[in-house]
């Protein structure tokens, strides 16, 4: 052995590689290999011919095919059609990604993002990685969610594991090695599962929302785990602020292979903001992913049997003794938005029932202490305006509102009346997946009320709904916030019709 060889060998001997295989990657790849094998067998000429002949046999059994020659010709024709159709690729656009994920039975996500560890300066950042599995069919999920601790141990990264088996949600606290349980109603389990996917889509909406794909340019093709992706880059800037994407997208399947997003504040550098390492849909989920047994050595703070039932909690804002509360909202296909909300003057108690008595669908909103008169949609362009300082992020919302509110229904639970309003766009609404949130355009009532200050409320949970999922989600939430179930006359069709009527009225004004 030469001296060079001895030295290099000795040097390398002391190098420690981080080369232990990750069982998760190994298992995922194994699933892909089995699927690839199955697809290969499906595509093999023999398999295609067999399918064609089977189809031909069915044709042959029909009365109008009397002769063997005709049957053979029919089988051959079917085989040719199958071959042609089998090879005709369907191309997806990036804007199809949200709907493909919503329509999946299962979704598995691995993502990362940066979070500041101190309130000052972009440089004090830490990279956090998250992973989640969603079973949209059965309302089950498992989320591994990191966060940066504040208070004691500030700046350190904590990981929270939340698992829902469709009935009970288990939260694992690694800090004190314990778990706690809460029961969910069927609506909540289903809603929370879908909401997990929606929250993710809102994060990446600026890359995949309608029209955003047009801003991205294809620059390369790359292979990730044996699958070919087109690589796109795109950038949007306003006054020095900007957002930049690099997206690995497969038009043949509509899959995202990877995503990296950078952002830049008005006078800053481009910094990595978030990314996706993998997005899988309709993949088999790991066995036991939704098990709610505590990890070994962890104690239970309560049990699934004795766990309290989670109640639907609103978010909102308070100014002095005035409080505005909003619940998760729903966006209809025509862009109108259903918002459940209430407001109260804490010195006066809940509003009297008379306030709601004369309300009619499509009519004025109830005169509560704070009224959400309308909404302002916040798209990525608007977010950039905020980042660039072109528009103040905390200033009052635009008036007159771009979406005008009208009464839809009320539900009452435990003596509290909840207002359900329908907000209809005055002009053409931006596509649903291009909107990050809506700011509430509110007024204090009575109008001469003296209020020191103002509040800023944005709808923090949005879910697009259509005819197929209106009942489980919109009516499901109505039932959850009612002692007597969802109002019978609020259906997908009735809301679409009401929205049209309101829009016609607005255009006439």
């Amino acid at each position: 052995m030469s001296e060079d060889e001895r030295r290099v060998r000795e040097f390398i001997r002391q190098v420690r590689f981080d080369d232990e295989p990750d069982p998760r990657h190994r298992d995922r790849l194994q699933q892909r290999l089995v699927q690839a094998l199955d697809r290969r067998r499906e595509r093999s000429p023999a398999a295609v011919a067999i399918r064609a002949l089977r189809k031909g046999a069915r044709i042959m059994n029909r009365n109008y095919v009397k002769y063997p020659a005709a049957a053979a010709a029919a089988a051959l024709a079917v085989a040719i059609v199958l071959l042609i159709n089998g090879t005709a690729p369907k191309a997806y656009a990036m804007s199809d990604v949200p709907q493909l994920l919503r329509g999946a039975k299962t979704v598995h996500l691995r993502s990362w993002y940066y979070q500041q560890t101190t309130p000052s300066g972009d440089r004090d950042r830490v990279k956090l990685t998250a992973e989640a599995w969603f079973d949209l069919d059965k309302g089950r999920y498992r989320k591994i969610v990191p966060s940066v601790a504040d208070g004691e141990g500030a700046g350190s990264v904590k990981q929270q594991v939340v698992v829902c088996d469709g009935r009970v949600v288990m939260t694992v606290d690694h800090a004190d090695k314990s778990v706690s349980y809460e029961k969910l109603t069927p609506f909540q389990a289903r809603y929370q599962t879908r909401a997990g996917v929606e929250q993710f889509l809102r994060r990446i909406g600026h890359a995949f929302g309608p029209g955003q794909g047009d801003l991205q340019t294809k620059v390369a093709q790359e292979t990730i785990e044996g699958k070919q992706y087109d690589v796109y880059v795109g950038e949007m800037t306003r006054g020095g602020a900007g957002i930049r994407f690099r997206t690995w997208f497969a038009p043949a399947t509509g899959d995202i292979g990877r995503l990296i997003v950078w952002t830049r504040q008005a006078k800053g550098d481009w910094l990595e903001y978030m990314g996706l390492d993998s997005v899988e849909r309709d993949v088999p989920l790991p066995r036991g992913a939704f098990g709610i047994e505590p990890p070994a050595g962890y104690t239970r703070r309560n049990t699934p049997e004795t766990a309290p039932v989670r109640t639907l909690k609103p978010s909102g804002a308070q100014l002095g003794q005035l409080r505005l509360a909003t619940f998760p909202s729903f966006v209809m296909p025509d862009g109108s938005v259903i918002v459940c909300w209430y407001s109260e003057d804490l010195t006066a108690g809940p509003p009297r029932p008379e306030v709601f008595r004369s309300l009619k669908p499509g009519g004025p909103l109830p005169e509560l202490p704070i009224v959400i008169r309308g909404l302002e949609p916040i798209t990525v362009g608007k977010l950039l305006d905020y980042m660039a300082g072109i528009v103040a992020a905390t200033g009052p919302a635009v008036k007159p509102p771009q979406y005008v509110g009208r009464h839809l229904a009320t539900t009452t639970r435990g003596g509290r009346v909840h207002e359900w309003s329908l907000y209809v766009p005055v002009s053409a609404a931006p596509p649903r997946d291009a909107i990050s949130t809506y700011r509430c355009v509110h007024e204090f009532t009575p109008r001469d009320r003296r209020v020191g200050g103002t509040i800023h409320v944005a709808l923090d949970m949005l879910m697009p709904v259509g005819a197929e999922d209106f009942d489980p989600f919109v009516r499901g939430q109505m039932a959850e916030l009612s002692d007597t179930g969802a109002p019978k006359d609020v259906t997908f069709e009735s809301v679409v019709k009401l929205s049209k009527t309101i829009r016609a009225t607005l255009e006439g004004e």
Binding site: S2, D4, E5, R7, V8, R9, E10, F11, I12, Q14, V15, R16, F17, D18, D19, P21, D22, H25, R26, L29, Q30, R32, L33, V34, A36, L37, D38, R40, T223, I224, E225, G226, D277
Partner: protein
């Protein structure tokens, strides 16, 4: 080279079965995943890229398993050949290589700055090796890693890189000479440190 203890079913039997049996493919995969993945990490110094390249290797295995003829040694050589080619292709892209070298330099600087805070300079050593190896041509990188990390014989390496053992030996000597220039100072200082410890 055998993988651990002698399996009850040989790779050759599994390869024959793999033409019609997904379970046989899965078993072949389980046997070879670890070594191939580790080799990819040793070549690329990046777990995520190594996972991508490993995936490419095994997807090719699935594509070609019908046509494959050979025993377990042949399969192992074939998998390492595919992995070598995929890693080389990854590293050959000029811009990418430049970026990797820059990243390696940053890692090295970070490792050096951290090394002063503790007794363990493993990260620095890894980063230094990475930077040194990446100055070589991808084909020579493969030979160095196969020889010194995977501990393969020259004849095995020759089979993987599609060359003769004597040609591999020549390339190895040249690559070692270049590595010495990079690692020379480091190995000398280690030698002094070890001598001082005694």
């Amino acid at each position: 080279m055998k993988l651990g203890s002698e399996p009850a079913v040989t790779d050759e039997q599994l390869i024959a079965g793999a033409r019609n049996d997904s379970a046989a493919v899965a078993e072949l995969y389980r046997r070879h995943y670890g070594p191939v993945f580790r080799y990819c990490v040793h070549r690329l110094f990046d777990r995520s890229v190594a996972e991508d390249v490993t995936s490419t290797v095994f997807l090719k295995m699935v594509e070609n398993v019908d046509r494959f003829r050979g025993d377990d040694e042949d399969l192992r050589r074939w998998l390492f050949t595919v992995a070598t080619n995929a890693a080389n292709a990854y590293l050959r892209k000029r811009a990418r290589r430049k970026r990797l070298l820059e990243a390696a330099a940053r890692d090295l600087a970070a490792a050096r700055s951290q090394a002063g805070h503790g007794p363990d300079d493993g990260a620095e050593r890894t980063a230094e090796l990475q930077r040194a190896v990446w100055t070589l041509k991808p084909r020579d990188q493969a030979i160095i890693v196969l020889r010194f990390v995977e501990d393969m014989k020259l004849s095995e390496i020759a089979g993987i890189v599609g060359s003769s053992p004597s040609a591999v030996q020549k390339r190895l000597s040249r690559a070692l000479g270049r590595l010495r220039a990079w690692l020379g100072g480091r190995t000398r200082s280690n030698a002094r440190k070890e001598a001082g410890d005694v």
